[in-house]
């Protein structure tokens, strides 16, 4: 409601990005830019992973780079200096609520069972993917020449794309938002067969667009979906 509009206005103010710059198109990736990042070239999955893990850490040092805004600081117009012990909530309660592990179910298309992973246990997308690879040990992570990474079942050659369901029930591609945001938003993971993902390619595009509109992160960058069209 009012908080959201406030958020989106501060977004563009702080990020310095025009709406047009961040608009998604179906054109060839490479035209989009990210505030504070290098000029765009075709980025594989791993590149986005790298980028997010870098930005993930800079979130914590948000005063260093005013462009990389996070949900928290965009909320209140002028946050007051924090006071000790206010609001009056005991440490036991604060710790218990904070450290609630983020266990999410992982489903694999075609496999009959579910696994659970604790997202809090990982530092970033790299670790998560490695862990998934170990878990569903039939996969290996195939490295493409352009450093794209996918999970591949070596026996059948099927490729899997990691997707997740966010708080709003929408299915997103893993890796398109900063790590911390992902941890917060992710409700469950699904390793989707590439072929299916292709069909959803257009839908996912739209979903990313929606995510950008709704969320307070101001550096949604174009996720190159070209590989889905293989």
């Amino acid at each position: 409601m009012s908080v959201e509009t406030e958020r989106s206005s501060t977004e563009s103010d702080v990020s310095g990005l025009d709406y047009e710059e961040t608009a998604l198109t179906l054109g060839i990736p490479g035209g989009a830019r990210v505030a504070g990042a290098e000029l765009e070239r075709k980025r594989g999955f791993s590149k986005t992973v790298d980028l997010t893990s870098r930005i993930g850490t800079s979130e914590d040092r948000s005063d260093e780079s005013p462009d990389t805004n996070t949900a928290g600081s965009a909320k209140a117009p002028a946050p007051k200096a924090r006071v000790v012990g206010w609001p009056p909530v005991r440490n036991y309660r604060k710790n218990a609520l904070k450290s609630s592990n983020k266990y999410v179910k992982v489903a694999v298309d075609g496999a009959p069972y579910l696994r659970k992973v604790d997202l809090e246990a990982y530092g970033g997308y790299e670790e998560l993917l490695s862990s998934l690879q170990e878990m569903f040990s039939c996969f290996t992570i195939r490295n493409y020449p352009n450093e794209e990474r996918k999970l591949v079942d070596p026996i059948h050659g099927t490729e899997y794309v990691p997707t997740y369901e966010d708080k709003d029930g929408d299915w997103m591609l893993v890796g398109d938002v900063p790590w911390k945001m992902f941890v917060d938003a992710c409700k469950r993971l699904r390793l989707m067969k590439s072929s299916e993902a292709t069909n959803l390619g257009l839908i996912l595009n739209y979903l990313i667009f929606e995510l950008k509109r709704r969320s307070s992160a101001c550096f949604i960058y174009v996720f190159p979906l070209s590989f889905l069209f293989v």
Binding site: V83, W86, P88, S100, K116
Partner: protein, 623 residues
């Protein structure tokens, strides 16, 4: 949660102020002693009086209320002696109000001790580490004097493993150890208690902070005797390190009297099911987490969980529910109607997820929940839980500028549905005077009203006015009110109302409120039953502090931090009132500073028979 223990602040039974006029020659304190008494060491009474005293002792055995005992001891010397002989429970509301040896000399047949230490604002990191409240001198005195001690209950004390060892060694009949908001001990101390207190019935660890290093955790659960135990209550949800689950399962299996079990968050549903199967007689259960284990290929726990809860017909109190997976909640449906107490305050639930559970809890009297359920969730509570006596709504995000989903609307719902409400703690960001007024009218039985509007100085969200009118209505209409916490934008007017109408208030908590000294004066002069006053970040200065001089003896303590106090004012209080201990607490001071800082950041003053304590650290200056 143990309602009877967890809110120990509601412990006072003092009479009117006039009764407790200070008498320096007689040396009494409201907390530990009873009324005025003879100096220690007077000569024994004549023979005939001794017979009367013996008769009296037999009668006084039946007197359990602390207040009644205080009255009885004030009648005459004979009654004083008889009462001292027959008192079985020692209650000391401030461990520095009296010296251990004095308590032990007067009361010689104590079986149960309740001892409180740090001021409550220590819970919010306002009291620096190392301030005091050490249990050691007490346990040593008790160890020497009370061979028959059975129960120790401590709140906000610093307790070491060595102290726990002394307990285990000194009291052969020891039955009940309850530690609330304590720190300083570890699993090592727990192991000693488990191993050596062969008659242990209750081991309740509630919101304590344990000092375990990750690699030094002791398997204390395994140390309980291998034979059938007499355990009735085992509460350890605050012991954050992992434990030996198999040992716990075996322990539960050989504890037929076990009624209360609260485990920590290292227990998943599959394990919970096993525990419940071992103890179908449980009345109070803390589930730890409420999620299934992380493995794959597991048997679906749902089936067994349903039957486990179905078999636990005695359950009346449920808590835990950390890391909750709501899809498992239907398992508790069969017992919801039996529940009188439900603690969801660690469960991040939406209104939709709460609804099917709460709609079945018609008999709920105590309910703790997170504000994630929103006003809508509270509406469901209001419509179903007509018998509710205590409600606590905690913030999911306990930060000042968080978005809270509960507001005046939820409070309004509750006030309309839960007419028998006695105690409420409500965290929110948006509130109106109208809702608070409505609660004051709809819930006249309120004894405890604690409203925490998390944003500082926030006014009525609709009218933009201060929250004075709401709190005025509370103190006017809730004639049984003994505990009040205020928040939001408040002027001196609010305190004028509190002083005028809040005649029964014993505990008052104030933060970021008031305009001037006048505010505090109203309270000190008007609230004749005031025992505990804690104030932070409010513009009250020396004049108001000094205006309270006639009243401080009748109070347990006064805490003021980040107000406008100076050393001049505090020294004047100390000078005028020798039986008050005036502590000025500074932050981050290691050694004595050469020059004195005039501004007083933290003041803690309390009445005491013991005088200035000898264990004060360098950052505490006693005037």
């Amino acid at each position: 949660m143990r309602e009877e223990i967890s809110d120990m602040s509601e412990d006072d039974e003092t009479g009117e102020r006039a009764r407790w006029a200070p008498d320096l020659s007689k040396n009494r304190s409201d907390d530990s002693d009873s009324g005025p008494g003879p100096p220690i060491g007077d000569s024994p009474p004549p023979f005939s009086d001794q017979i009367l005293e013996n008769v009296l002792e037999n009668v006084l055995e039946f007197l359990t209320s602390r207040r009644d005992r205080n009255s009885a001891s004030a009648v005459c010397r004979s009654w004083y002696r008889a009462e001292a002989q027959t008192r079985r429970e020692l209650f000391i509301g401030n461990c520095y109000a009296v010296a251990p040896h004095r308590a032990v000399e007067r009361f010689q047949s104590i079986k149960s001790v309740v001892l409180k230490g740090k001021p409550r604002f220590a819970d919010f990191n306002l009291v620096p580490f190392g301030w005091g409240a050490h249990f050691e001198p007490w346990v040593k005195s008790f160890g020497a004097a009370y061979r028959h001690l059975e129960r120790i209950c401590l709140k906000r004390m610093s307790v070491t493993d060595k102290d726990l060892t002394i307990i285990a060694e000194s009291f052969p009949l020891f039955k009940d150890l309850t530690l609330i908001c304590c720190e300083g001990f570890s699993t090592f101390g727990l192991a000693v208690i488990a191993e050596r207190c062969r008659h242990l019935r209750v081991l309740d660890l509630i919101e304590d902070y344990l000092e375990d290093e990750d690699d030094e955790v002791v398997d204390w659960i395994s140390r309980f005797p291998e034979t059938t135990t007499s355990l009735e209550s085992l509460v350890f949800d605050c012991v954050s390190c992992p434990f030996n689950f198999d040992a716990l399962e075996r322990l539960v299996a050989r504890s037929p009297s076990l009624q209360r079990l609260r485990v920590n968050h290292h227990v998943a549903l599959e394990q919970l099911r096993r525990l419940m199967a071992r103890a179908p007689q449980l009345t109070h259960l803390g589930t730890g987490t409420f999620r299934s284990g992380a493995g794959f290929g597991e048997v679906d726990p749902n089936l067994d969980l349903v039957s486990a809860f179905g078999a636990s017909r005695s359950l009346v109190c449920l808590s835990g529910f950390r890391e909750i997976e709501p899809e498992f909640l239907p398992a508790i449906y069969p017992i919801c109607a039996n529940l009188t107490s439900l603690n969801f305050s660690f469960a991040n639930l939406t209104a939709e997820e709460l609804n099917p559970v709460i709609r079945r809890c018609h008999n709920l009297q105590t309910f703790w929940v997170l504000d994630s359920v929103g006003d809508e969730g509270l509406q469901a509570v209001a419509e179903t839980c007509r018998d509710l006596r205590e409600l606590r709504v905690f913030p999911l995000d306990p930060s000042e500028d968080s978005d809270s989903s509960v507001s005046d609307i939820g409070l309004q719902f509750i006030s309309e549905g839960c007419r028998k409400l006695r105690s409420i703690l409500y965290f929110c960001q948006r509130m109106t005077n109208a809702a608070v007024v409505a609660m004051s009218k709809n819930c006249p039985d309120l004894v405890v009203f604690r409203l925490c509007i998390m944003g500082r100085h926030l006014p009525d969200r609709i009218t933009g006015e201060p929250m004075d009118a709401g709190f005025r209505a509370i103190v006017m209409n809730c004639k049984k009110l003994t505990r009040l916490s205020v928040s939001g934008l408040l002027t001196d007017k609010a305190f004028e109302y509190i002083g005028c109408y809040g005649k029964l208030i014993r505990t008052l908590s104030v933060a970021f409120a008031g305009d001037s000294d006048g505010g505090l004066r109203y309270v000190l002069e008007g609230c004749t039953r005031l025992q505990k006053l804690e104030i932070r970040d409010s513009p009250f200065g020396d004049a108001s502090l000094i205006s309270g001089l006639p009243f401080y003896y009748n109070m347990r303590f006064l805490w003021m931090s980040s107000c406008n106090l100076s050393m001049r004012g505090c020294k004047e209080v100390a000078r005028n009132k020798p039986n008050l201990v005036v502590e000025v607490i500074r932050d981050g001071v290691e050694e004595e500073e050469e020059e004195e800082i005039e501004a007083v950041e933290k003041l803690y003053l309390y009445r005491s028979l013991a005088g200035a304590r000898t264990d004060a650290p360098a950052f505490v200056k006693i005037l």
